[in-house]
């Protein structure tokens, strides 16, 4: 086999890998997770927001374009975490009057069996930088400057559900 053929095979392998990932990803995003009896229709690939146990809205990737990006440098590895405030994401779909300072906001990753519970007061304070950073594989991870959410072990990677419960 000539060197030219070998190089072409290597390029082909790379193209196939990229194509497979993009293809599978497109298929996955097309399959809608909306329950049949849900009052709100979830767009494929969106993250559901439940208010007091009822599906209230779906947070879609398109929503991110409307939000301002913020950033901070994490103390653990000194990396810049850049993304969108959870506060802004929630206010895009919920009215501020429905969110009291003691309202509980739970950000969940079903696949990693992890969650973080915060009060609206904590989420609403820009100094806490409670925000979603985009991970390398295109999922959202909840990061913050809050002491109980400021290292990787405490972050919520692969977020797929947000619950809001009024006390």
């Amino acid at each position: 086999m000539s060197q030219r053929t070998r190089i072409l095979i290597a390029v082909l392998i790379l193209v196939v890998l990229v194509g497979a990932i993009l293809g599978i990803d497109a298929l996955r995003r097309r399959s809608s997770p909306t329950p049949a009896d849900a009052p709100v229709v979830l767009e494929a690939g969106s993250i559901p927001i439940y208010v007091n146990g009822t599906l209230a809205a779906g947070f879609t990737p398109d929503d991110l374009a409307e939000l301002e990006q913020v950033s901070f440098v994490d103390a653990e590895e000194g990396k810049t975490q850049e993304g969108w405030l959870l506060r802004d994401v929630l206010l895009l779909h919920l009215a501020q009057r429905d969110l009291d300072p003691d309202t509980l906001v739970t950000v969940i990753s079903t696949s990693r069996d992890k969650s973080a519970q915060l009060t609206w007061a904590e989420v609403d304070d820009p100094a806490n930088s409670v925000m979603f950073d985009l991970s390398g594989r295109g999922t959202l991870k909840l990061v913050s400057l809050l002491e109980r959410l400021d290292v990787r072990d405490e972050w919520i990677q692969d977020v797929d559900k947000i619950e809001v419960v009024n006390q």
């Binding site: 060197q3 390029v11 392998i13 790379l14 890998l17 990932i21 990396k79 991970s135 390398g136 295109g138």
Partner: protein
């Protein structure tokens, strides 16, 4: 006595490169908010390792060892298994490409092998996310950006590694090593 595949000297060299991969990941930072940008440093190191120890499995051993070190240091955002498998995939992917293409001293081969090797890291991260049911690719643009980042920085790392190997040959490093044997 049966001849060992890697000599002790070669194993020490590979262990050093493995440690350097982890150190590079921790200490060298580029102010780029792009996925996979650290590939510039560590793909260069993997390619140099594969050139300095020209045996099949050298890159895999560097990937495996650096994966063990990085996992124990708690590196990576997605846990120890993810870190270990993704680092190992870099080495195995690079080795498989070098098996197909030949010596990494050729700049084109080094670049291509490093590109595929580095992309294997992304494939592992993405696959583990997909298997565990994570909403991978929630932001499609983010996924595309990450793919491009891994390919570009992997290629740059490979090119840097290839150039370093050429510089080492020019400086007489390989002659020195051959004499030491």
């Amino acid at each position: 006595m049966k001849q060992r595949y890697f000599s002790t000297f070669q194993l020490i060299l590979l262990a050093l490169f493995s440690a350097l991969v982890v150190v590079a990941k921790i200490a060298l930072r580029l102010p780029l908010q792009l996925s996979g940008h650290s590939g510039v440093f560590w793909m260069a190191l993997v390619i140099i390792a594969a050139g300095v120890v020209p045996k099949r499995g050298a890159a895999s051993l560097v990937g495996l060892t650096s994966g063990v070190i990085a996992s124990f240091l708690g590196m990576g955002d997605f846990g120890a298994l993810n870190t270990f498998l993704s680092y190992t995939a870099v080495g195995v992917g690079t080795d498989l490409m070098l098996l197909l293409l030949g010596s990494p001293e050729n700049l084109l081969i080094a670049t291509l092998a490093a590109t595929v090797g580095h992309f294997c890291k992304f494939v592992v991260k993405w696959s583990l996310g997909a298997i565990t049911g994570a909403p991978v690719g929630f932001v499609a643009l983010g996924l595309t950006k990450a793919i491009v980042g891994y390919i570009v920085f992997g290629a740059l790392g490979g090119l840097l590694g290839g150039l370093t190997l050429a510089a080492l040959r020019k400086a007489g490093f390989f002659t020195y090593i051959a004499e030491k044997r």
